[in-house]
């Protein structure tokens, strides 16, 4: 908190100074920019005018296709120098006219980090890659070495010099990509969704790096981003683009307290702000009191409960408190954490079920051990039963074995030891292509599978593989096109559509096979909030119709909201297994595997003297603690 306060004061100080020298201090000036991609009628940017003051941290948000990437490409001249099309208006960056300066020269002033780190790393080793930029500018070798070391330290990759870039983790790769542009010592850093492909740890690493950079150096940062929780108190300003136009501009807290506005912008609201908005609508609190983090939400609930809370909660709070105290004592006596106990109970229950050879179970995994090559086992003794119709979320750190386990379900991987029985079929005896008729598997990146010239043909492919003929194919494709809302795109080339639609095509191409079990790996990475909602609504609908769903996800809010069972993997073993409420209340154990529970669960934990062991996962549950009637005046 103190740091945030400090930042705020320095910021306001800076604002004072820059107010005096406004025209000199602008790092980025966009004047009436419009841009048309080649052969496109609609402009991607419409008369955008924007000034970014030197030293500011500006967040650029908006739905997919709003023009965020296009805008960032305009800033260093890649538009129009590399990408053709029609650009009008004037862009100047640190006093340089972008239209008249080569991209390469601009890179000394403005560093642009793109989305996919994989294609931005040019060197084989970390050092080779970082040195690439300065070498192009013929910086003397001694100086390069010095700069590379300094930059690597800044992005917290100190000592990685000789590591192969190929072997870095996702977060490290992205930080290397940032190092690659920072080493040229730009005054402005523009990052286009640098964290969209990363897990929470990787994301946190990037944000911390940016924070450090900002504190240490007078760097102007423009960050394009979807997720928001961590950034609200870091950014000075938010700019929201909508269909190529600047839709809103202002202070982050202002935007994130205004839920209807967020909805219009297509940005995901913070969970706790939903509770606050509810109170605000009832007239209990003022707009500025809408909480944006957990402590303030906690304070708010505590303050409002005596006044507006339902009777039962006040009483329950006291009773629970006594009970928890008793339980804690008991735990201490047993010397065993309650959590571990639960897992054991669950496991023994699973074993019983396995023995009964339940007909209804969709997936049965017994003593599954898997080794990649001859290294450390990636899975070490997984026992798991999943009933038909369940909605299971698989969570855990990168490398915990989520994908390895999931790939066993459709036979892409065969167990080294133990067995996997899916819908009554032992995967050892069946080929993936046979299993694909009953078990659908949607991969994270839709571009790895799309290869047909139209959406319709793409959907037909799986059916043809499965041996279906004419009429059956047509009917099924028709049905799925309707369910997924892809009807209007049926004869469009898949690659002319946006990422969200392509993701939907990937799902649709599996759905035509009417799988009984659907495994989805990260169905929402890189989608905007609207895209996420559409996708999750579809998955929930499928689940309601009886399809068993197994979803791998890093988005804990989604997991809590949609799954009815959560399995946490850690180092190839099942760490926790239970309902979202159960799993997310084990904050300490989750922390060990670097999972941060959703805001609501953390809030429930904070309020555990009132709620007891109950964990809420939806805002309506919190709202239910209070009187439903609104009173006027606050």
């Amino acid at each position: 908190m103190e740091i945030v306060e400090n930042l705020k004061t320095t910021n306001s100080h800076e604002t004072d100074i820059s107010a005096h020298l406004k025209h000199v201090e602008n790092a980025i000036e966009l004047n009436n920019i419009s841009y048309y991609y080649p052969n496109v009628v609609e402009p991607s940017l419409k008369k955008v005018s924007l000034n970014v003051e030197k030293g500011k941290f500006v967040l650029l948000m908006g739905a997919t296709g709003a023009g965020k990437t296009t805008l960032s490409l305009c800033l260093n001249g890649l538009i129009p120098q590399l990408l053709e099309g029609k650009l009008t208006g004037q862009v100047s960056v640190a006093g340089k006219n972008v239209g008249k300066t080569a991209v390469q020269s601009l890179s000394k002033v403005l560093g642009l980090v793109l989305q996919d780190p994989e294609t931005q790393i040019i060197g084989r080793t970390v050092e080779e890659d970082t040195a690439f930029g300065p070498r192009n500018f013929l910086v003397p070798l001694e100086q390069i070495k010095q700069r590379v070391d300094q930059t690597l330290e800044k992005v917290r990759l100190k000592g990685y010099n000789q590591r192969l870039s190929e072997e870095l983790s996702g977060g490290e790769k992205q930080r290397l990509a940032i190092a690659g542009v920072l080493v040229m010592e730009p005054e402005i850093l523009v990052l286009d969704e640098p964290t969209s492909e990363l897990d929470p740890i990787g994301r946190a690493e990037i944000y911390e790096t940016l924070d450090e950079l900002r504190r240490k150096k007078d760097l102007t940062i423009l960050l394009v981003e979807h997720s928001s929780e961590e950034l609200i108190h870091k950014a000075d300003e938010v700019v929201v683009l909508n269909q190529g136009e600047i839709f809103w501009k202002g202070v982050p807290t202002e935007l994130f307290r205004n839920l209807p506005l967020l909805r219009q912008c297509g940005i995901k609201p913070l969970p706790v702000s939903q509770i606050g908005w509810d109170f605000y609508e009832k007239g209990w609190i003022s707009f500025a009191e809408i909480p944006l983090d957990i402590p303030s939400a906690e304070g708010l609930i505590r303050a409002l409960l005596p006044k507006y809370g339902k009777q039962q909660w006040q009483q329950k709070g006291q009773e629970q408190e006594q009970r928890i105290e008793r339980e804690r004592e008991r735990e201490r006596d047993l010397g065993l954490g309650l959590e571990l106990d639960q897992v054991h109970r669950r496991n023994s229950r699973l074993k019983q079920e396995a023995n009964q050879s339940d007909k209804n179970s969709s997936v049965e995994v017994r003593n599954l051990i898997y080794h990649y090559n001859s290294e450390q086992p990636a899975l070490r003794g997984i026992n798991l039963t999943i009933e038909a119709g369940e909605f299971v979320a698989l969570i855990g750190q990168n490398g915990a074995g989520k994908t390895t386990l999931a790939k066993h379900l459709n036979g892409l991987l065969k167990p080294t030891q133990g067995e996997v029985i899916v819908e009554g079929m032992n995967t050892q005896q069946y080929d993936t292509s046979d299993l694909s008729k009953t078990i659908g598997y949607v991969f994270q990146n839709p571009d790895h599978q799309i290869f047909s010239a139209t959406v319709e043909k793409e959907l037909e492919f799986g059916l043809k593989n499965a041996g279906y003929k004419g009429k059956e194919i047509r009917e099924r494709v028709e049905q799925v096109l309707q369910v997924t809302g892809l009807e209007k795109y049926r004869s469009v080339h898949p690659f002319s559509l946006g990422k969200g639609e392509r993701q939907m095509i990937a799902v649709a191409s599996i759905l035509v096979l009417k799988p009984m079990l659907l495994v989805i790996d990260e169905p929402t990475t890189g989608s905007d909030w609207v895209g996420v909602q559409t996708m999750m609504t579809l998955i929930r609908k499928l689940n309601a119709a009886g399809t068993t769903i197994i979803m791998i996800s890093h988005d804990m809010d989604l997991v809590a909201q949609f799954a009815n069972r959560v399995i946490v993997l850690k180092e190839g073993e099942i760490l926790l297994d239970g309902t979202p409420q159960n799993v997310f209340s084990n904050e300490q154990m989750l922390l060990d595997s670097a999972i941060i529970p959703p805001q609501f669960c953390r809030l429930s934990k904070q309020l555990n003297d009132i709620l007891g062991h109950e964990t809420f996962i939806e805002s309506s549950e919190f709202a239910a603690m209070f009187e439903s009637k609104g009173t006027t005046g606050c």
């Binding site: 890649l78 060197g123 192009n136 694909s436 790895h448 096979l513």
Partner: protein
């Protein structure tokens, strides 16, 4: 050929890249001079010693060699039956072991089999030698070598990035194969047309992904000032050291000796 650089500090690692390239050329000439498998065996043995010196990862090397075994066998058979006795100088090589077809046709000659063995040993020797070369040479040295040889910088940049992206593309390929398998693609359709057709679902996404990647790579390179000048700072200036002169003289002496043995003494032929 293993492509990754193997960190180490042996003499071979420290040699100038031009010396190593020259040595490699010398080795090639040497291996093409002799037809006798005994001589080839000596050459392979020597390169093998070099390989042990730099501590070559044996397992990875075996992974590379094992799939070649069917090819090795078929090469020996092919040469055994196709080389006619008249092609050989030595009487012993001209001997025909047996005929595969009635009427004294398609005879298996001793020389043919020996020639086959030579081909195999040559192949093996080259694999070892090129592996030694690539394992001890960094990409940067290769780029500098191109520069010294007056290869245009665009081409050397292209080659180095191509090598950098081999593992990345291989990962892409695996992911695509898995994604398509999950949709029921079978990769064992019969006939040439069938097998081509079954690989379309792999090839098309592969092309599309490569193009997308190339696109953003070109942006990333421009972002980092590539193309501003046609040269760039060399990380290490190439310079000949005494050890380079020594090695080059050794190679030259060996080559002269070999040429003398081969053409004056007429040894090492079949």
């Amino acid at each position: 050929m293993l492509i990754e650089y193997l960190a180490g500090d042996t003499l071979i690692h420290r040699l100038d890249v031009r010396t190593k390239m020259f040595g490699f050329l010398g080795f090639m000439i040497l291996s093409f001079l002799f037809e006798d498998p005994i001589y080839q065996l000596i050459i392979v043995f020597c390169t093998g010693l070099l390989a042990f010196w730099i501590k070559i990862p044996l397992r990875k090397f075996m992974v590379m060699v094992v799939p070649l075994i069917p090819i090795i066998i078929s090469i020996i058979l092919m040469t055994g039956f196709t080389f006619s006795p008249g092609r050989f100088d030595r009487i012993s090589s001209q001997a025909v072991l047996f005929y595969a077809l009635p009427g004294d046709r398609l005879g298996a000659t001793v020389g043919g089999f020996l020639m086959g063995t030579t081909f195999i040993l040559r192949l093996l020797g080259m694999m070892i030698a090129s592996t030694v070369l690539t394992l001890t040479t960094t990409m940067d040295e290769v780029t500098q070598f191109f520069q010294k040889m007056k290869v245009p910088p665009e081409i050397s940049m292209m080659l180095t990035t191509a090598i950098r992206f081999i593992p990345t593309l291989d990962k892409k390929r695996r992911q695509i194969v898995e994604a398509q398998k999950a949709r029921g693609t079978k990769f064992n359709e019969k006939g040439i047309i069938g097998s081509i057709r079954s690989y379309l679902p792999i090839m098309i996404p592969m092309f599309i992904n490569s193009i997308l990647m190339a696109n953003s790579l070109s942006m990333a390179m421009l972002n980092r000032g590539y193309g501003l000048t046609r040269t760039w700072t060399s990380v290490r200036e190439l310079s000949f050291e005494p050890r380079d002169y020594g090695t080059i003289s050794l190679v030259v002496i060996l080559l002269t000796l070999a040429i003398f043995v081969r053409f004056k003494l007429n040894l090492g032929v079949l």
